[in-house]
């Protein structure tokens, strides 16, 4: 792992005490977000999202398969993430480490538990054949805040995905049935200060991290705390508020990019 110079950490702390961040943003401000969909022709749906310099690509592939025995009328979804060595000098090739697994599972839960994909509409033959949705995340450039970039890329890819019925001779292709997605916003804490959308240098010195997913009503749909530091109740409230506000704005951008 690349060593973070203590001086750099202290400088970021000092700026934070003055209410500033290294790149000049406010504590509750995101970097520039770019969303591009339909970037991979082989995928049923795809998107490339940039938050600052962080870049993530998501691809949706679909197949026909057997349902889970406890939900015979439901489609199946699964999420995988690859922290490929392309994206950072610190990523190694090999089987997924915990970071990749945690990332995939958090994105997965964000989609699954809020029932973004209407899995009950993906049944072909109850108990026998259902549609399987594969969400694959490919990290391309790591400059902080993979959770939000990955989550947004998945949503953008899902929003433009088509069920490939024709290829399986099951009728005409149709848009993947989706509900309103929750938007995930990640914050980190360092030196008793909380900032949203951490850039790489902020993530490197963070003590604790909290991802909050909110829906159009401002209700909470998912949360995940990471790293070995802690939050106070007030900090959590601050983070929730910033997540609701930014979530609204990001959702607007997402809809704009998919032409809604």
């Amino acid at each position: 792992m690349t060593v973070v110079p203590i001086i750099k950490r202290d400088y970021i702390y000092k700026l934070a005490e003055q209410g500033k961040r290294v790149d000049g943003r406010n504590f509750d401000e995101y970097r520039k977000i770019e969303i591009e969909t339909g970037v991979v022709s082989k995928a049923e749906g795809s998107a490339r999202v940039k938050i600052g310099n962080t870049q993530v690509m998501a691809g949706i592939k679909m197949d026909v398969g057997e349902p889970y025995s406890d939900s015979p009328d439901s489609g199946v979804m699964t999420t995988a993430a690859e922290l490929i060595p392309l994206a950072s000098p610190d990523f190694e090739a090999g089987p997924p480490r915990e970071d990749a697994i945690e990332l995939a599972r958090v994105v997965d839960r964000g989609v699954r538990e809020s029932e973004v994909i209407e899995l009950d509409k993906l049944c072909i033959e109850p108990g026998e054949k259902v549609w399987i949705v594969f969400i694959d995340l490919h990290i391309l450039d790591y400059d902080g805040n993979l959770f939000d970039a990955a989550s947004l890329a998945s949503l953008a890819a899902l929003s433009t995905a088509k069920v490939p019925a024709e290829r399986f001779e099951l009728g005409e292709d149709y848009p993947l049935p989706l509900k309103e997605p929750p938007i995930s916003c990640t914050s980190v804490k360092f030196n008793n200060v909380v900032v949203i959308d951490p850039a790489l240098d902020e993530e490197e010195i963070a003590d604790a991290r909290l991802t909050v997913a909110t829906d159009t009503n401002g209700d909470l749909r998912a949360m995940q705390k990471g790293l070995n530091g802690s939050f106070t109740r007030e900090e959590i409230q601050k983070i929730i508020k910033a997540s609701i506000d930014n979530g609204r704005e990001i959702r607007r951008q997402l809809y704009k990019s998919i032409g809604k």
Partner: protein, 235 residues
């Protein structure tokens, strides 16, 4: 010639970017300098860089690439690990450098290295030796070298360092003329700045601008204009 001398020399001429394998000349008329290789009597570029040709030599000044250490270089290192007899220090080269306990101004006992330098500490050091296997050793034994405290550290492309320093330090002097600060530029592309936070921000902005535009013409003037304007706005 180093890079900033090249830039000054080529003031009036069109700077030419060359790529690996590009043919540059003949050994019959010129000597093959840095960044080139010879094959069948012809001189070729081995790197992406700027062509620098004078009466006797053909050189290619690299535009990009990791830091390639030379003995005597002043560098900024970040300590990776305290060992029994010294420290492993990251100096942004292709492998970490060794700082032996005898190469520091303190009296260090075996196994006591952590008392003096630890993982994450930054130091201003000098490249002491490079052996045939490219194993690097650095030293702190010089009155200009020490453990750094305060300020901020950033990384820039090592190939742009000469431009950031300027001819005989002229670019750095220019910055210091308009902004109160201390700056140290390591040959390895690491730069340390110490000032109040607003000034550090301005200095960094200036350095990043020089880094981006290092091969353009009229850079010094543009930088001076920018610094002048900024200083005026403050007053």
């Amino acid at each position: 010639m180093n890079f900033e001398e090249v830039c000054c020399f080529m003031q009036k001429e069109k700077r030419k970017i060359v790529v690996p394998s590009q043919i540059l000349g003949d050994i019959k008329s010129k000597k093959a300098g840095r960044g080139t290789f010879i094959e069948d009597g012809k001189i070729y570029s081995e790197r992406l860089g700027v062509l620098n040709e004078n009466d006797r030599y053909i050189n290619v000044v690299p535009l990009k690439g990791r830091y390639d250490p030379t003995v005597g270089d002043f560098v900024i290192g970040v300590v990776e690990e305290a060992l029994g007899t010294g420290w492993l220090v990251d100096i942004n080269a292709s492998s970490p450098a060794l700082l032996h306990q005898n190469e520091v101004p303190w009296n260090v006992d075996f196994g006591d290295t952590e008392r003096y330098l630890n993982r994450g500490d930054s130091i201003m050091a000098k490249v002491l030796s490079i052996d045939e296997l490219k194993k690097l050793q650095i030293t702190l034994n010089d009155r200009n070298l020490y453990k750094i405290k305060g300020g901020h550290i950033i990384d820039v492309e090592p190939s742009r360092v000469p431009r950031i320093i300027g001819k005989k330090g002229s670019m750095l002097s220019l910055i210091k003329k308009y902004i109160r600060c201390r700056i140290f530029v390591g040959q390895n592309g690491r730069i340390w700045v110490d000032a109040d936070t607003e000034s550090i921000e301005k200095v960094l902005q200036t350095i990043y601008k020089i880094e981006d535009e290092s091969i353009t013409f009229g850079l010094t003037n543009r930088i001076e204009e920018m610094l002048k304007k900024d200083a005026k706005d403050v007053r």
